[in-house]
């Protein structure tokens, strides 16, 4: 698409024009600084920011918080003390107790934080890239391109996402990377739709006409002028989806489609607890930690993103100005 333009555009004009565009969405009402100011004013979104920061800290400090045992080949492999089926309660040796088959819960939670971020960032990036590419092509070119691409997204949306993801994982094989691929494959249509709608209006604006008059080709107009002006809310919304994606990945893990057993992944810790909702006679909550600890961790992680996201959505919603 990015054919060399035969018309050379004076470099100064073009670059200053580009900067002008960018400055506009940096400083306009829903701009970055306004958002920061409003986030600071809203205590709930500050709490969300705090939670996310807390988890970033855990992820970064994982080797310090939960040292990798000597002789371990992979730091994501949870150390296993014995093979007994029954989970053990939290103790001095195992701060968060152990799961079924004696995986150390604390180690799994700490290193699982890294897994969660990896899943969230990788999936959001991939599905944003696909969504941006297809959405902008559909919106910009219109006509049959739009028709084909949008009907394709409709079909994907006309299918329950979890089941489609399960089919993809079943076809590709069970592993964490395939879970990420599957989620990205079912997650992009909503981004594509959103961007397409924005581009439909942006491509009619004067600066696009001006760029075309200057002789810029489609590729240049699309990637330098149209997409940068439409992409910003999408990036914010996409990055806030990280929480939901982690729930989603954990759900697939829960169904037994995720990482191999013993890999530090929150969803797997939960799925290892499935058989322990009944305590022994006399102490019904004997195995409370198997659900509460990984469940609480996922909850707090997702809560952080959603608290932040709730504030952002209000800010980005033009109807609530």
């Amino acid at each position: 698409m990015n054919k060399k333009s035969t018309l050379t555009i004076p470099e100064t004009q073009e670059s200053s024009g580009g900067r002008e565009d960018r400055r506009r969405w940096w400083t306009r009402d829903s701009g970055f600084r306004t958002i920061l100011r409003r986030v600071k004013k809203n205590p709930l979104s500050l709490l969300g920011l705090g939670l996310i920061f807390f988890f970033v800290l855990i992820a970064v400090l994982a080797p310090v918080l939960a040292p990798v045992p000597a002789g371990s080949r992979d730091s994501y492999e949870i150390p296993q003390s014995g093979y007994s089926a029954d989970p053990v309660k939290p103790s001095r040796e195992h701060w968060f107790g152990t799961t079924e088959r004696q995986y150390d819960m604390y180690y799994g939670i700490v290193w699982g934080t890294r897994t969660a971020f990896k899943i969230g960032v990788a999936v959001v990036t991939t599905s944003l890239l696909i969504g941006i590419l297809l959405g902008s092509l559909a919106g910009y070119y219109g006509g049959w391109v739009d028709e084909v691409l949008m009907r394709f997204t409709d079909i994907i949306l006309a299918f329950p996402r979890v089941v489609l993801a399960v089919v993809i994982v079943a076809v590709l094989g069970r592993s964490l990377i395939n879970v990420m691929i599957a989620i990205a494959m079912v997650d992009w249509p909503s981004y594509a739709r959103l961007l397409r709608g924005d581009i439909l209006s942006i491509k009619e604006r004067e600066f696009v006409l001006a760029a075309r008059a200057l002789g810029a080709n489609d590729g240049r107009i699309l990637f330098r002028h149209v997409i940068p002006n439409a992409i910003y809310p999408l990036l914010v919304l996409g990055s806030l989806d990280i929480g939901n994606i982690v729930i989603y990945a954990a759900a697939l893990s829960f169904l037994g489609l995720g990482a191999p057993e013993g890999y530090a992944d929150w969803g797997q810790l939960i799925s290892l607890s499935r058989n322990w909702i009944l305590g022994s006679s006399g102490s019904p909550f004997e195995y409370w930690h198997t659900v509460m600890i990984p469940g609480g961790t996922i909850f707090l992680f997702v809560l952080g993103w959603n608290l932040l996201g709730d504030a952002f959505r209000d800010i980005l919603d033009p109807r609530q100005k």
Binding site: R151, V163, I277, G279, F299
Partner: protein
């Protein structure tokens, strides 16, 4: 009106074709042997592998395979679901009523609670009820259904021994498959009333409470938020001020004037939600061991039971088209400015 409905139904074959071609295409990534392994499980049957591949046309080109499946479908034969151990039509008939029951039972509270709470939150913006609803909403969609489900089971099943998982107890299971119990609809709540058997009714109800509560808590959040923001938009409009200036009671202004106009996005969302729940709430059904359509769909998908997955996909496509149609009809009912052409 009728023309509109008919035209929407004409969409169904296209959505159905699209969804099934996509799935069929995905499954082509597997070798014929891998797909045959669903039928050939025992190493002693290995010699039959070729026979299976030939019989199910697994080595033929993609259009041929799809054509074979389509031809059978037109004859009304959806194939045999290996994971359900019954023909696909039978599997749908067995699992769908369970999901329908769960969907209705959880959707009604979601709808009423969501719209009510959303309206109140908008009317009392920035008061404690608004904050409470915001808190409920955010915790609601931050809590994974499997975590909430396991917690509820731990408390109400493990500790209190009140609300068990599954769809019915063993006694009910034994009873409903005898001649003493007529299954008219497959909806066991309705059937038990028709059979005048209150103990079965109570048993089914007991099994529905936890999954319905889980679904309700997790899904009501979105509806509350949408209703609230849509209500806020309407409350600030001129006609609301006019209505107030005329001296109408506040409850009439809010409930009759503003809310009816605020319902459009709510209808869109709730129809999507209902279709979503009907199409199988995979995780909730799995956690509660509830024999619904979603659990079957996901088992079929993970074991590459092709007829099962395809049947499930078709069913969902139908629900999807019907759900959208229902939403459009509701729009016209709520907003007389919308004419269906």
């Amino acid at each position: 009106m009728l023309a509109f409905i008919l035209r929407r139904f004409a969409l169904l074959p296209f959505v159905g074709l699209g969804v099934t071609i996509l799935l069929f295409g995905l499954l082509q990534f597997l070798t014929p042997e891998m797909r045959a392994s669903l039928y050939v499980k025992d190493p002693r049957q290995l010699s039959a592998m070729e026979e299976v591949i030939r019989r199910y046309h697994l080595r033929d080109p993609f259009p041929v395979q799809y054509g074979v499946w389509l031809k059978q479908l037109l004859k009304g034969d959806l194939g045999y679901s290996e994971t359900a151990k019954m023909p696909v039509e039978k599997a749908v008939k067995a699992f769908f009523p369970a999901t329908l029951e769960l969907a209705v039972f959880s959707f009604l509270p979601i709808l009423f609670l969501g719209v009510w709470l959303g309206t109140q939150a908008a009317v009392k913006k920035d008061k404690w009820l608004d904050h409470l609803s915001r808190f409920l909403a955010i915790t609601g969609y931050s809590l994974p259904s499997f975590v909430l489900g396991l917690l509820l089971l731990m408390i109400f099943y493990g500790q209190l021994k009140l609300l068990p998982p599954g769809r019915f107890s063993l006694e009910t299971d034994l009873l409903i498959h005898t001649d003493k119990f007529q299954q008219y609809t497959g909806l066991l709540l309705v059937d038990s009333l028709l059979n005048r058997n209150l103990s079965v009714f109570w048993d089914i109800l007991k099994h529905l409470i936890l999954p319905a509560f889980t679904l309700c808590y997790i899904n009501v959040a979105l509806l509350v938020r949408i209703t609230r923001s849509s209500m806020l938009e309407e409350i600030n409009k001129d006609y609301v001020r006019t209505a107030r200036a005329k001296g109408l009671e506040e409850s009439v202004v809010i409930n009759k004037h503003a809310r009816k106009n605020a319902l459009i996005p709510v209808i869109t969302l709730s129809s999507l939600l209902f279709v979503g729940i009907l199409g199988g709430v995979v995780i909730t059904e799995t956690v509660f061991n509830y024999p619904g359509i979603g659990r079957w769909g996901v088992t079929a998908a993970s074991q590459l039971d092709v007829p099962g997955v395809m049947g499930f996909a078709l069913l969902y496509a139908c629900l999807f088209v019907l759900g959208n149609l229902g939403a459009d009809l509701l729009y016209a009912y709520v907003d007389p400015r919308i004419r269906l052409k």
